[in-house]
Every structure is written in C-alpha cells, then in structure tokens.
C-alpha cells in the first residue's frame, strides 16, 4: 500500500508546482531592479515605491473596496430576506424563484455583463429623453451606480445559496415556542432565527465580497467611462508588454489573500476543536 503512494504524491507535487511556479516567479521579479520579467538585475524595492505613487491604480483599489463592501452588504441583506421569503413560499413558486436566482450563477459572465449593459444603456436613453429628466434636471449615465447594481445582482444568488441550507436545518417549533412565550415576531426573529442562520449569512457576505473584488468581466461591461476598478486597471496594464508594478501588486495581493485564508482556516480549526470539547463535556460517557 505504501509503495502506491509514491507516484501519486509525485503527480500531486507536479500539479502544485504547475499552480505555484508562475506566482512564485511574479513574486521574485517584483523585487527585480530592472524593468524585466525575464532577466534578473539585482534586488530592489523600486516597483513597490512606483506602485504607491501610481494614483490611478490606488484610486481603482479604493473604488473596488468601497464597491465590494457596499455590494456585499446590500446583497447580504437583500439575499437573506429573499431566502426567508423563498423558504416560506409554496414549493412551486419557490422552485421558479430559485431557478431565476440561479441564472446569474450558471450564465457565462460575459452574457450577464452585456445583457446588463444593454439594460443600462436602454434605461438611461429612455430616462434622459423623457420629460422627467428635464423636470428634475437630472441626466443619468453609467458609472458607479450601474456598477453597484451589477455587483449586487451577481452577489445576491451566492448569499441565498449559503443561507438556504441553514433555514432548512431550522427546527420550525423554536420560533413558535418563542412567540408562545410572549416574544413579538421581530424579537423572536432576532433572538431565535438570526443566531441560527448567522453562519450562513456571514459565509454569504464573505463569498459576495470576494466575488466583487475578483470580478473583471461584468465590471468591464457595466462600469461606463468615468470609473474604473482594480481588475479593469490590471487588464489595461497587462495589455502593455512589461509593467513591473503589476508584479508588486500581485505580491501584495497574494500576501493579503494568504493571510486571510490562514486566519479563516485557523479560526475554523479552533472552532471545531472547541465544539468537540464541548460535546465531550456534555456527554462524558462517549
């Protein structure tokens, strides 16, 4: 049995090498003194300095963070409410709603992107041509607003998918018990239901946030000309032959993601151990 392990471990190692070699190279060349991704010219932190002076890129980072936080929070509230609503529906209408909810998840990003772009351009055209625009003295245009709508739209399905299983696992009697004991509907929801589904809600929030940070295709089509996001800026920069600031940026992003994943995993392991210990205390016999 042990002998079989060697080829399989070799294969696994090669796949991980394939996955990480390019990232390691980017990190190494982010410290390169010359403007090359191919020839090593000595150690330097010049590209990090350059990155910090690139106001356009930093502006894009700020837009992306504000956009992702807003979109994730709104999508989480909208999606959690929707999940409870779907859960309360009859089977037929629930399955219709869930199928529509799944459209942005299964559709190709480019189709979601261009379809929303069509809607925005169409709606803006109609509004700006109408008397309302003249009456209010307002002209719509694509920009941060359309970007935010698009992000909420593709984030909410993830929230619903992560809250739904939590709702299914609820004991329906608990809520009624709370009400029998005199809790109002909202109070019972806050004290009984919300704590139970909270892990699903938080999970949805995190997924939504990372999806927003990472999105390129949908932002590219819905952003309009005034604003720009990090991913779109990366695309512009990467189209040029060599842009060493991008190496520095990749390194920083990799470190942030690595630290985040590490803390999430450590927290999870700790929770599991604590949970196991608690269970052992409750059932000393087992």
């Amino acid at each position: 049995m042990k002998k079989h392990r060697i080829p399989s471990r070799l294969f696994t190692g090669l796949v991980y090498l394939f996955l990480y070699a390019p990232i390691v190279l980017l990190i190494i060349f982010s410290f390169n003194a010359t403007k090359s991704n191919r020839v090593w010219g000595g150690f330097s932190l010049a590209w990090y300095g350059e990155l910090l002076n690139n106001t356009r890129l930093l502006g894009a980072v700020r837009t992306t963070v504000i956009l992702s936080v807003l979109a994730a929070f709104i999508a989480t509230i909208l999606g959690t409410a929707a999940a409870i609503g779907f859960y309360s529906m009859r089977r037929r209408s629930r399955s219709v709603c869930m199928s529509i909810n799944n459209i942005p998840l299964t559709n190709a990003d480019i189709i979601t992107g261009v379809s929303m772009m069509l809607l925005f351009v169409f709606a803006i055209g109609v509004f700006n041509g109408s008397f309302l625009s003249d009456l209010l003295g307002v002209r719509w245009s694509t920009g941060f607003g359309t970007l935010l709508i698009a992000h909420i739209t593709f984030n909410a399905p993830y929230v619903i998918l992560s809250v739904m299983p939590r709702l299914r696992g609820l004991d329906p009697n608990v809520y009624e018990a709370a009400q029998d004991l005199g809790a109002s509907g909202w109070y019972a929801f806050r004290k009984v239901i919300l704590p139970e589904i909270m892990p699903g809600v938080l999970n949805g929030l995190i997924i939504a946030f990372t999806m927003s940070i990472d999105d390129f295709v949908i932002s590219y089509f819905t952003k309009g000309s005034g604003v720009t996001t990090l991913a779109v800026e990366i695309y512009t920069a990467v189209k040029k032959p060599v842009t060493p600031e991008i190496n520095a940026l990749s390194t920083l992003m990799f470190l942030v993601v690595f630290a985040l994943l590490l803390t999430v995993n450590i927290r999870q392991v700790r929770q599991e151990t604590a949970f196991a210990r608690q269970r052992a205390k409750l059932n000393p016999g087992q």
């Binding site: 190279l25 529509i100 261009v114 909410a156 993601v257």
Partner: protein, 282 residues
C-alpha cells in the same frame, strides 16, 4: 417566521436586473440597427463559424485536460490525512483568489520567445542537443500567441474549479460503502470502477460546467496569451459592444446562439450523467 413577502424586493430586483436584460438580449438579437424586426443578425452568422469552432474546440480540450489532471489529483488528495487534506484544499483555492488576469500575466513572461522556459532550455544546452539531432536551427520554442498557450491559460485558471467539486464528492463517500465492496470480494481497481467512480460523477459534471462555461466565453485570455491571432467568441461579442465593430444587435445574436449551444450541451451532459448514476444505483 413564515413570511413570503420578505422575498418581494428581491423578486422585483431579479425581474428588472436578471430577466429584463436577458429579454433585451433576445429583442436586440431579432432587430436591426434601425429597430425593425429582422433575422439578418443570424443569417450573417456564417462569417463567424471559425470563432465558434475555435471557442468550442479550445474549451473542450481545456475541459478534457482539466479532468485528466483534476480527477486523479482530487482522488489522491482524498486518501490523505485530514490535516493534509485541509492544507491541500486551501492551497488549491489560494490562486483562485488572485485575479485571473494576474495569473495569466505571469504566464506571458514564462512562455515568451525569450521567456523563462526558453532561457532555461538554452541554459541547459537543450537547443544544441535538439539542433544536432534534428538538424534544425532553433534558438527558442514559439509558445506564446498560439492556441496551445490559450488552452494552457484556461487549464491554469480553471483547474481549481474542477478539483474542488470532485474532491468534495469523493470526500463525502461513506467509507462503509467501500468496505462493503471489499468484503464482497472487490479488488482495489474494481472498488474504484464500480463504487468510487460512479459516485464521483456528479462532482465531475459540476466541474465540467464550471470549467467549460468560463472557457468558452473568455475574452481576455485569448487577447493576452493568443496575441489576438485566434478570434474567440468572447472577443467577438466584446468587439460588438465596446470595440470598433460596434453593433449590439449582432453581438446579442452571437451571445444568444452561444448561450443556446452551451445550454443544449449542458442538458445533454446532465441527462447522460443521470443515466450513469441510475445504473450505479441499480
């Protein structure tokens, strides 16, 4: 807690921002620039057959390679200890959290004519050896701006989407089922063929969906690794909406046809997959 009206805001939201845009795509696909009803957008589609062929062939190849690499990887990892499995899955997900444009950018400098692979090969004297054997006069392998480079980019970017669902399905297989098969006299290859593989098929199917759809509709990858030499559907659609060839009506028609082909393929695959599962249950 039963309150279906809580879903009302989101149902309205979906109607406006999910359903209406798709209806608009259909409307645009069947109308001309002047707004009249027409089928011209579809009858002109013949010109774009190469783009359709390129996209679907490259996406098929990339998906197949992802299965060939991802399935064994997921299977091998599922036999490791809990700690190794946790770390291994974290390491699979980690690159996914870096923007795919950055990951693609890394490959641009590796595959280049004077990039790192060619530098390495020439440093170890590989080209001298190659030239003396084959009588050629090579100083580098041309890898960037080829269809192969595009496939490599797809595999590199989307491989985790294949590994994760397969792994989570294999990981959930009840060890008792495998023990039962062994007790009934199955050897390890039979256990794999008759128990593990059929039970892991749903994971493979969702992996295929998650790799194939982004591959077939990609537009940045081909521009960065294919040097705009290979026109893919994604590029074509992008050109109609934001590029020089501005014609959202034609773009909508192309997007619609692409969506239909993908839907039909996925439906066929799921039906085929369900059939397999049915056999396994029997």
């Amino acid at each position: 807690m039963k309150n279906k009206w809580l879903a009302a805001p989101y149902v309205v939201w979906m109607a406006i921002f999910v359903v209406a845009p798709l209806v608009l795509v259909v409307v645009f696909a069947f109308t001309g620039q002047d707004g009249s009803l027409t089928l011209n957008n579809f009858s002109n589609m013949g010109t774009y057959v190469p783009a359709f062929r390129n996209s679907f062939v490259l996406a098929f190849v990339a998906t197949a390679i992802c299965i060939l690499i991802g399935y064994p990887l997921a299977y091998f990892l599922s036999r490791e200890s809990l700690m190794v499995r946790k770390v291994a899955m974290m390491l699979i997900m980690l690159p996914m959290w870096m923007n795919f444009l950055l990951r693609t950018y890394a490959w641009m400098s590796i595959l280049d004519d004077n990039g790192l692979i060619n530098q390495f090969l020439s440093a170890i004297g590989f080209f001298n050896l190659w030239n003396s054997i084959f009588g050629t006069n090579l100083t580098f392998f041309h890898m960037i701006n080829t269809q192969g480079a595009i496939v490599l980019g797809m595999v590199y970017n989307f491989l985790p989407f294949m590994v994760l669902p397969i792994f989570s399905v294999i990981d959930k297989i009840d060890p008792k089922v495998i023990e039962a098969a062994q007790d009934l006299g199955a050897n390890s290859s039979m256990v794999f063929r008759k128990v593990i593989f059929p039970l892991s098929l749903p994971g493979v199917l969702s992996g295929v969906t998650m790799v194939f759809i982004p591959s077939v509709s990609t537009f940045a990858l081909s521009r960065l690794l294919g040097g705009a030499k290979t026109l893919l559907l994604g590029d074509l659609i992008e050109m109609q909406f934001l590029g020089n060839a501005y014609n959202p009506h034609l773009g909508s028609a192309i997007a619609l046809v692409m969506m239909m082909i993908v839907l039909v393929l996925m439906a066929l695959m799921n039906r085929f997959g369900e059939g397999e599962e049915g056999v396994a249950v029997l």
